[in-house]
């Protein structure tokens, strides 16, 4: 099974292979730049463990781990 963004720990990075899922959430994730070949890094967890803050395309995004699971990484 490929790793997903939802599984990355703080400080870890990965390269996006594809984005699973469907509908508005998938479109939003792609629109925000998590596309094939893009490098993402997990910066931190929120104090309560979730959501996570990631660095992508030069800016910061927060996303819940459950939703980040749709992003498959190499």
């Amino acid at each position: 099974m490929t790793a997903t963004l939802g599984q990355l720990k703080c400080g870890e990075s990965g390269t996006v292979i594809r984005v699973a899922g469907e509908g508005a959430l998938r479109k939003r994730i792609l629109d925000l730049g998590l596309t094939k070949g893009c490098r993402v890094t997990v910066i931190r967890n929120a104090p309560l463990g979730d959501p996570i803050e990631i660095a992508v395309r030069g800016y910061r995004l927060t996303i819940r781990r459950a939703e980040a699971a749709a992003v498959e990484l190499a």
Binding site: G33, E53, G58
Partner: protein
């Protein structure tokens, strides 16, 4: 009249730019059918250039209401030009939107805003190269410092005179494919938008596809399926990848990032503010500070001054004297002074507190900390179908519910926004503090636990409502995803704080002026006259008292129905929650400040359980008219506002009933029909909370059609 749309990502400084460009000419309204603000104005000194502010969006997808409004405006209204505001630190992501605007065939001026931040981050942007690559005019600005904005009008003029921009080029393979799709769609698409339609059809955009005749669509579909196979990818990813690849080519020669050592200043701040250990304590401290400044230190004392000095000592008696000296009829004087001036004045009296709250709220929003609040609290709210963004209105509501409700506007998901607007007043506002103080003082030996439990109850009620309301037709649907940009921190601009506070405070005043005026008059009238329309000296003889007496039995199961004064006090609380305690004073003929007298009286009339039930009922039931007005503004229709108020009162009744009956059972061992009623209510409430579709089975029993999920 030339119409120009202003568009850009959220956090791009678009609002500041729009405000600075239009100045006093801007008018705020709503987009039709939704509660999203629409701002229109014209560029200063250029009355011929009308500016329409479109909601902040990342793309022109057909999903969120902001995106739909924006794309519909661009596709149907066809503005003469578009000013695209871009955060210069995030060119790549921003151009994703720009390329779509250009594909719509709209002349575009690109504004690289926040150039100072980009420079600090070590970015250099070759404006000429980028302008050439895109085929657009580019203006560099720092909207916050009013730099560069004066160049925009000239750029717009040049753009209007120039031919339409050429769209960005994709990979050869993809371009061939697009040509074929464009040919397949043929003349079924509006002029000038062929490329846009081809791209959206290829992407699988439901709205665009629905507007294309089915035979053309079928033909296009064959081509699309073939290409998906060829590229071994699905259409949505194909287009997104192509677009970002094209943006990459556009920026590779013109945008250069220097390898900046270490972390940005904003990141350093976040390491403290959102780290595992300090994050929550800092957050509590910040919220405590907001509360302290707005209620205790600044807002509260100012409000007290307005109420006690300006109104109580000067305006009210002064007007009364003046009118009496003029020989005006005493009844009219009473109407004007006791009804209108006192009533509206009391509400306007909370204006200082509200202004302070708005200032603090705007500062926190503008500096970027609000996003961190949502980030920290999301984990808790997620389980109740809401998101961390619902927490901010709750904080504000501990000061006053009106700005709290108004701040729910920032929540993107319409469902979450509506639920938050309806439930945020469960948090005890500062006007409810006197009620808490009275019950705590009279019946609980001033225990601080009473106040603490009130706040906890508020939070529990909100979370519970998140679950309950989801099960209603109007709020169904999957919980909104929480994907949010974390903007870089920056110092808020004084002008923005002033402007925003002014706008919001004025909205509050308008509510007070129109809606509450009417309510004040009605309550004054009912409390001054008896049913034969004669003026009464003693409020005990008034229509309001008669009404109170008539319906007070409703509250007997809650423990405070045996004395009609409590019912009447609750009703006057609708005007302003401070009135609840004030009315007791009037009704019992005592000064409210004389704690001993009033509290002793209350203690004589209610036992602690009944007193607590009274408190709970007043905390959860319908908020004051100002807040109801604010809810109306967010919910959009009186019908929905009425439903919201009904929900609040029903929940208040149910919870107070349960508390009173079980409290009496546990503390005094009394049992009766009321206990049975409370048990049934408890069971029903639990069922509604726990069952997956409690109203579905109810609807089926009634033979009604299934709700559309």
């Amino acid at each position: 009249m030339t119409t120009i749309a202003i568009i850009g990502n959220p956090n791009s400084g678009k609002t500041t730019a729009f405000n600075r460009l239009t100045g006093a000419s801007q008018r705020v309204g709503n987009w039709p059918g939704v509660t999203i603000e629409k701002k229109v104005g014209h560029i200063r000194h250029r009355g011929d250039l009308t500016l329409v502010d479109l909601p902040g969006v990342y793309s022109l997808s057909p999903y969120s209401p902001e995106e739909v409004i924006t794309r519909d405006f661009l596709m149907q209204e066809r503005p003469d030009a578009v000013i695209n505001i871009i955060d210069a630190s995030h060119v790549e992501r921003s151009l994703y939107l720009t390329t779509q605007i250009i594909e719509l065939g709209l002349p575009t001026v690109l504004v690289l805003n926040m150039m100072d931040d980009a420079a600090k981050a070590g970015l250099t942007i070759d404006r000429t190269k980028l302008a050439e690559a895109l085929g657009c005019e580019i203006v560099e600005t720092v909207a916050l410092k009013n730099r560069g904005l004066d160049q925009i009008a000239a750029a717009v003029d040049r753009t209007l005179a120039a031919p339409a921009p050429r769209p960005v080029a994709y990979s050869d393979d993809f371009e061939h494919f697009l040509t074929a799709v464009t040919a397949a769609l043929g003349d079924a698409v509006p002029a000038g938008q062929a490329r846009w339609y081809a791209l959206k059809t290829a992407e699988g955009d439901p709205a665009v596809r629905a507007s294309v005749p089915s035979d053309r669509l079928e033909h296009a579909e064959t081509l699309i399926k073939a290409y998906e196979k060829h590229a071994d990818d699905d259409r949505l990813e194909i287009v997104a990848n192509e677009r970002y690849a094209a943006v990459g080519r556009l920026t590779e020669t013109s945008v250069k990032a220097h390898e900046t050592a270490g972390r940005s200043p904003s990141d350093k701040v976040d390491r403290v503010l959102t780290n595992k250990w300090a994050g929550i304590p800092v957050f509590i401290a910040v919220m405590g500070l907001v509360y302290y400044i707005s209620i205790t230190a600044v807002g509260g004392p100012l409000t007290d001054w307005v109420n006690d000095e300006f109104l109580g000592a000067w305006a009210v008696p002064g007007t009364r004297e003046f009118l009496t000296a003029q020989g005006v009829d005493p009844t009219i004087i009473a109407l004007l002074v006791d009804g209108i001036i006192s009533g509206v004045g009391a509400v306007l009296g909370f204006l200082p507190e509200i202004i302070v709250l708005f200032i603090l709220l705007t500062v926190l929003e503008e500096c970027g900390y609000m996003s961190r609040v949502a980030f920290i609290m999301d984990r808790v709210f997620r389980h109740f179908g809401l998101s961390g963004k619902s927490f901010v209105p709750m904080i504000i509501s501990t000061g006053c519910g009106v700005p709290g409700i108004m701040s729910s506007r920032t929540i993107e998901s319409e469902r979450d926004r509506r639920i938050t607007a309806m439930t945020t007043t469960f948090m005890p506002c500062s006007a409810k503090l006197p009620i808490i103080a009275m019950i705590a003082g009279a019946l609980f030996r001033n225990s601080a636990l009473v106040a603490l439990s009130a706040y906890l109850l508020g939070i529990v009620m909100i979370l519970l409502s998140g679950i309950i309301l989801q099960k209603f037709k109007g709020f169904s649907g999957r919980p909104a995803p929480f994907v949010m940009e974390m903007p870089v921190y920056h110092w808020p601009l004084l002008a923005t704080v002033v402007h925003s506070t002014g706008q919001r405070s004025w909205a509050f005043v308008q509510k007070a002026g129109t809606f509450i005026l009417l309510a004040c008059v009605i309550i004054w009238f009912l409390s001054s006259f008896d049913s034969s329309m004669t003026l009464v000296d003693d409020i005990n003889d008034s229509m309001l008292a008669a009404f109170g007496n008539a319906i007070t039995w409703v509250f007997i199961p809650l423990g405070f129905g045996q004395e009609w004064e409590f019912t009447v006090a609750t009703i006057t609380g609708l005007l302003a929650k401070e009135n609840v305690v004030g009315t007791f004073g009037t009704l019992f003929g005592l000064a409210e400040d004389d704690g001993q007298g009033l509290w002793a009286t209350v203690a004589g009339l209610l036992n602690p359980v009944a007193g607590y039930a009274f408190l709970v009922f007043n905390l959860v039931c319908a908020p004051c008219f100002a807040a109801i007005g604010a809810m109306h503004r967010e919910l959009g229709s009186w019908r929905d506002t009425g439903k919201a108020v009904l929900y609040q009162c029903t929940l208040a009744y149910a919870v107070a009933l349960i508390i009173y009956q079980f409290g009496m059972l546990i503390c005094y061992g009394t049992c009766g029909i009321g206990t049975v009623a409370a048990i049934i209510t408890m069971v029903l409430l639990t069922y509604v909370v726990v069952a997956k579709d409690p109203f579905g089975s109810f609807r089926r029993q009634l033979g009604q059609p299934e709700a559309i999920a």
